[in-house]
């Protein structure tokens, strides 16, 4: 069977049932997908069934004797001022409200998207006029324009829809314009044009699918906004007229009696809220469904893990307390005295406390009631926040518990208090409050200190005391400037843990320039970040120690660490534009750290800045200091970054691919600057690069990294002469040298770097290694000294098998 036929087979098999399609799996890959389905299902069912199930009598029949009743079995949400069932009326209004909202939004979407997209492709001047026009329209609040337009179209449901459709279109036009003009300049659109694809195909296969996600989210949000707007117009009496009613009109009726029967206004308001949520979730989930990035494995992994996540312990605690508080809140409504739920609670408390003095309890319980209520709502809110924002989950769990705890302590203090004396009741309630407050502050402090430890790479669990002592005895030897032992960075991903930096031991001597080389994904940049204690979330750093000038920076308190690294270490990154603040002058950015850390100011500081600018050969420094980053070229920005790093005379500069984004001519200049700084100021430099040519040119030693480990540590002078790690050999051979034979194919490294979540057993390089033998697949070779200055992690070099030495 040919491979092409295999491909056809796969195509044939890819017709899947709807619920197994990648679209639907991605749609459901987050809880909002489920919520969207459920809420939308309920809404649509209500809209379809309400007019069939409910008769006109149900919603129009007056019954003045039963007016303004509280919720009961007959009337679940109570009755209005004419004795009509609130729930039935709210449900009955669903189809009309949805119809009005969707037609208004549909109009706004059609007008907005078309005019926006057309504007994007208008010739020069016309386009400018179009954009200005849209912007002017945007300057007025949509609802105000709608009200003005209603005056033109007349006060009716149709008038309101027309008015909102027009009033809401400018904001949608603006979005469509930005998206359409943004996507037109992209490389894949250019490549489609070069491939000769028709304009229609480019629009429908290249442009629309790539902006569809945003358009869908925007459309659904616009529908939610239109719902609110239509309801507002009806509420103001400018929308639905006569005997017809939508949710907006129901609110109008309810607001008049807000203090007697809050549910009269609350029920339709809640309906609007739920519909808005449903629309928002639906837009988000649909957009996710259309994203092919989520069509692959991640989607299925995610859809399994969010369920698991929901039932994790912290979550269970939080959702449990939230649920309890909600029950607490609503319970009294179903008590014997439904009209006055507070009374029920108080009676309950009285019975529990065995007291009969209701007046006293009344006073004390006011506060308790308030706190119970607010506690319940806050806990619910935190629950929602923590559900969708993973990084705040922990703090939300803690705060949610505090709220629950605070409310409960109030209640308990109330019960325990002597109810015969109102003063005691209040005092004990106050005591409960302060107790809760102190507990809250303590817990917050705890969370903050946890957090700061986390950002510094967490606790360093692996420090055995004996190792600490052993290292201390080392101190009699000449200390390297930087010494890292067991440096490891771990990411616990949903698909499993990965270790992009794995047990790195390295020493940097004073005044050295050490290169770190490796392919992308080898962990070289992360190693640099780990040394600077800047591992990005959610990575966890661990190490036996990282000593800079003999000080172990992994155990340093956060404040001290910042100061210490600020004066001893500087980092330079690949893209100087993203490391510079575009809103501040170069001079301000250059001097900021020194002003703060070393309290040098005024003329002296300015002179220092000028000197540093001279160090990196920026001419006209006086003028340059007053300029903004965008006025600098790429090479100049990188020089400015280096100058900034030099301001505090650091002993170590870590440069992460500082020349990769620059032209070769500028690269040569920047390398010269780094070399000069090293020679004149004795600064140690760690230079990270994927280009071994650059490293050979400037460094005295090189660390070669592969799949998160150092595989070789060798002096540059020995690099060309001695036996090397096969990977180092391959890296050097892959550079097209100037004296190479042009007729021969370039040496390349077969295969590609392994995925960190699926490392091969044994040596990670074994699958690509030309000298591989059996042992390589079984054991991971340790990094061993082959001579005093040369370390290799390869059995071929450190422990060669008898028959493999020849090849």
């Amino acid at each position: 069977m040919s491979s092409a036929a295999t491909y056809s087979d796969v195509r044939a098999r890819s017709y899947l049932a709807f619920w197994r399609t990648p679209f639907f799996r991605a749609f459901l890959s987050s809880p909002s997908g489920f919520l969207a389905l459920i809420l939308t299902g309920i809404l649509l069912a209500t809209a379809l069934l309400a007019p069939l199930v409910l008769t006109r009598e149900d919603v129009y029949q007056r019954n003045v004797r039963r007016r303004l009743e509280a919720p009961s079995a007959d009337h679940v949400l109570g009755t209005d001022n004419l004795g009509r069932d609130i729930l039935k009326r709210t449900l009955y209004a669903t189809p009309l409200t949805l119809q009005l909202a969707t037609s208004a939004a549909g109009m706004a979407i059609v007008i907005g998207f078309t005019s926006g997209a057309v504007t994007a492709y208008l010739p020069g001047r016309l386009r400018k006029i179009g954009v200005r026009l849209i912007e002017v329209m945007l300057a007025f609040p949509g609802i105000l324009i709608a009200i003005m337009l209603v005056a033109v179209f007349g006060t009716s449901a149709e008038g309101a829809v027309l008015a909102i459709g027009i009033a809401f279109s400018p904001s949608l036009a603006r979005v469509a314009y930005t998206l359409a003009s943004g996507v037109a300049g992209l490389d894949y659109i250019s490549s489609a044009r070069v491939l000769g694809l028709s304009s229609r195909r480019i629009v429908f296969r290249y442009i629309i699918p790539n902006i569809a996600e945003t358009l869908i989210v925007v459309s659904f949000n616009a529908t939610a906004a239109a719902l609110v707007a239509v309801s507002s117009l009806s509420f103001l009496g400018l929308g639905v007229q006569g005997t017809q009613f939508d949710w907006g009109r129901l609110i109008t009726e309810g607001v008049l009696r807000l203090y007697q029967v809050p549910l009269l206004a609350l029920a339709p308001a809640l309906a609007i809220g739920i519909t808005g949520l449903a629309l928002g979730f639906m837009g988000e989930a649909l957009a996710r469904g259309l994203n092919p990035v989520l069509w692959t494995q991640t989607a299925s992994i995610q859809s399994r893990t969010w369920l698991r996540r929901y039932f994790s312990s912290e979550y269970l605690l939080l959702s449990g307390s939230t649920l309890l508080l909600i029950v607490f809140y609503f319970l009294p409504w179903f008590g014997p005295d439904a009209a006055d739920p507070d009374r029920t609670l108080i009676t309950g408390a009285t019975i529990l406390a065995g007291s009969s003095n209701l007046t006293a309890i009344d006073i004390g319980s006011q506060g308790a009631m308030l706190l119970l209520r607010s506690g319940a709502w806050i806990a619910l809110l935190l629950g929602i926040v923590s559900y969708f924002f993973e990084r705040y989950r922990r703090i939300c769990a803690v705060l949610g518990l505090i709220c629950g705890f605070g409310a409960a302590s109030y209640f308990v203090s109330l019960l325990l208090a002597d109810f015969g004396n109102p003063g005691t009741a209040l005092a004990s309630a106050q005591l409960g409050f302060y107790f809760g407050l102190i507990a809250t502050i303590l817990l917050i402090l705890q969370v903050i200190s946890d957090k700061s430890a986390e950002t510094r790479g967490g606790r360093h669990a692996a420090v055995a005391p004996s190792e600490g002592r052993e290292a201390a005895t080392d101190a009699s030897l000449p200390q390297p400037l930087l010494q890292a032992r067991g440096l490891t960075v771990r990411f616990d991903l949903e698909s499993g843990p990965i270790v992009p930096v794995n047990d790195i031991n390295l020493d940097l001597a004073e005044g050295e320039i050490v290169g770190v080389v490796g392919e992308s994904g080898s962990g070289k940049s992360l190693t640099a970040l780990a040394i600077a204690q800047l591992v990005p979330h959610p990575g966890v750093l661990s190490a036996q120690h990282v000593r800079l000038r003999g000080e172990d920076i992994t155990v340093m308190p956060a404040g001290e660490l910042r100061y210490f690294l600020g004066s001893e270490m500087a980092m330079i990154f690949q893209d100087p534009m993203s490391s510079l603040n575009p809103a501040l002058k170069i001079g301000t950015q250059l001097t900021e750290a020194t002003r703060v850390h070393r309290r040098i100011r005024g003329k002296q500081l300015h002179k220092m800045a000028l000197e540093r600018m001279a160090d990196v050969h920026i001419s006209a420094a006086e003028t340059r200091l007053k300029q903004y980053p965008h006025e600098f070229s790429g090479g100049m920005r990188q020089r400015a970054m280096i100058a900034m790093g030099l301001m505090n005379s650091p002993s170590l500069i870590i440069a992460d691919e500082p020349t990769t984004a620059l032209d070769v001519t500028i690269q040569a200049q920047i390398i010269d600057v780094l070399r000069e700084i090293n020679q004149e100021q004795g600064t140690t430099i760690m230079l990270i690069s994927h280009d071994i040519g650059v490293i050979i040119e400037i460094c005295s030693r090189v660390l070669v990294m592969y799949a998160g480990r150092i595989v070789e540590d060798v002096k540059i002078t020995e690099l060309m002469t001695t036996d090397k790690h096969p990977y180092t050999e391959a890296l050097i051979a892959a550079v097209p040298a100037f004296d190479s034979n042009r007729d021969e194919p370039l040496a390349s490294i077969p295969g590609r770097p392994p995925d960190l979540d699926n490392l091969p057993a044994g040596c990670a390089f074994a699958p690509r290694c030309p000298y591989v033998f059996e042992r390589c697949h079984e054991e991971t070779p340790p990094l061993l000294h082959v001579d005093e200055t040369h370390r290799i992690a390869c059995f071929l070099r450190t422990d060669p098998p008898e028959d493999a030495t020849r090849e």
């Binding site: 491979s3 092409a4 036929a5 295999t6 491909y7 056809s8 796969v10 195509r11 890819s14 894949y188 250019s190 490549s191 489609a192 044009r193 070069v194 491939l195 000769g196 694809l197 195909r201 296969r205 290249y206 699918p209 790539n210 092919p292 990035v293 692959t296 392919e519 992308s520 070229s633 090479g635 032209d663 070769v664 001519t665 500028i666 040569a668 200049q669 390398i671 010269d672 280009d691 040519g693 050979i696 040119e697 540059i716 002078t717 060309m720 890296l731 050097i732 892959a734 550079v735 097209p736 040298a737 100037f738 190479s740 042009r742 194919p745 370039l746 040496a747 390349s748 490294i749 590609r752």
Partner: protein, 321 residues
């Protein structure tokens, strides 16, 4: 015979003259390298040839047929004959199309094959760039940079082009992957008699790929030579500077190199006469008597051995004398 011939090409973006009177030819089945710093106009030439940028003046001819202003059916035919591969394989593939679909639509456009034949062809093209035909069902985000560049190459081959413009195709890739892609491109060139315009800022890569090389500075060609000659005896000081800027795998750097100072000037306002005189280590900066550099435009001259260098004081000639 030249596959592509460009004469006196001028391309402007508003006030900016990005390409200013450039002429060169690409022999059939051969490769012309185009090097220079960013802002030298290399990519603009590429975009002009594939009609993504409009030509202000000059002529572009394919097989001696003027295609400068091709439209309609002519342009359609041209699209299959001239193709381009872009620098960033993460940006040049539509993220919403599967690999199979994006190759298939090129086949639909330029080849008269039925659905079944197209499916076979997609598999064959993927195999040609050493990818598994089963990858046809995957989406771009599932591939590494090198694999994406292979996909872009397969898609390009789908239209059976004669000339392919390679715009910095390996500069976003790791060295090891870069070597594989370059080898692949050379194999394909031999197999299909492709002509390449190879654009890069990396001279060592250009040396490996090209038969002859044009060096560009601020929208103009300053030197054009056979590759070996260019690297052995560069005549223009800018070429020398570019060669010196490349790391040579010499420990501690090449002590004899003459570094280029400064940066490429603002192309909105290029220096008069020789555009390079503000940075030239052999020009009026170092030798005040060489006033010609500031006053006369050194046109690209052709000398006996078919070398072209736009310099009043070419390096080699001075050394030989």
């Amino acid at each position: 015979m030249n596959k592509l011939r460009v004469r006196d090409l001028v391309v402007r973006y508003g006030q900016l003259t990005a390409v200013d009177g450039v002429s060169f030819g690409i022999p059939a089945g051969g490769t012309l390298g185009l090097v220079g710093e960013s802002g030298s106009g290399k990519s603009t030439i590429a975009r002009a040839i594939v009609q993504l940028a409009s030509v202000a003046r000059g002529q572009i001819a394919l097989d001696e047929v003027d295609i400068t202003f091709a439209r309609g059916a002519d342009l359609n035919e041209l699209r299959s004959r001239i193709q381009m591969i872009f620098q960033d394989p993460y940006a040049s593939l539509n993220p919403r199309l599967s690999v199979g679909a994006m190759i298939d639509e090129v086949l639909q456009r330029h080849r008269s094959l039925n659905a079944d034949e197209r499916r076979q062809e997609v598999g064959r093209l993927l195999e040609m760039v050493a990818l598994d035909p089963l990858f046809a069902d995957r989406y771009p985000h599932q591939f590494s940079g090198g694999q994406r560049q292979r996909i872009a190459i397969a898609r390009t081959l789908a239209s059976q082009p004669e000339l392919v413009i390679l715009d910095e195709v390996v500069s976003a890739l790791d060295v090891s992957v870069q070597a594989e892609i370059l080898n692949l491109l050379r194999e394909l060139q031999r197999e299909f008699q492709l002509s390449y315009l190879f654009i890069s800022h990396d001279l060592s890569v250009v040396r490996y790929m090209s038969d002859s090389v044009c060096v560009m500075y601020l929208g103009q060609i300053v030197e054009w030579k056979e590759t070996e000659d260019l690297f052995r005896q560069p005549e223009h000081p800018y070429t020398q500077g570019l060669i010196d800027s490349i790391p040579k795998m010499i420990v501690g750097g090449d002590p004899n190199r003459i570094p280029l100072s400064g940066e490429i000037p603002d192309p909105h306002d290029p220096p008069p006469a020789c555009r390079f005189h503000t940075r030239c280590p052999f020009g009026p900066l170092a030798h005040p008597e060489r006033a010609a550099c500031r006053e006369d435009d050194p046109h690209l001259r052709i000398d006996k051995s078919n070398h072209y260098a736009a310099c009043h004081y070419p390096l080699v000639r001075k050394e030989l004398a």
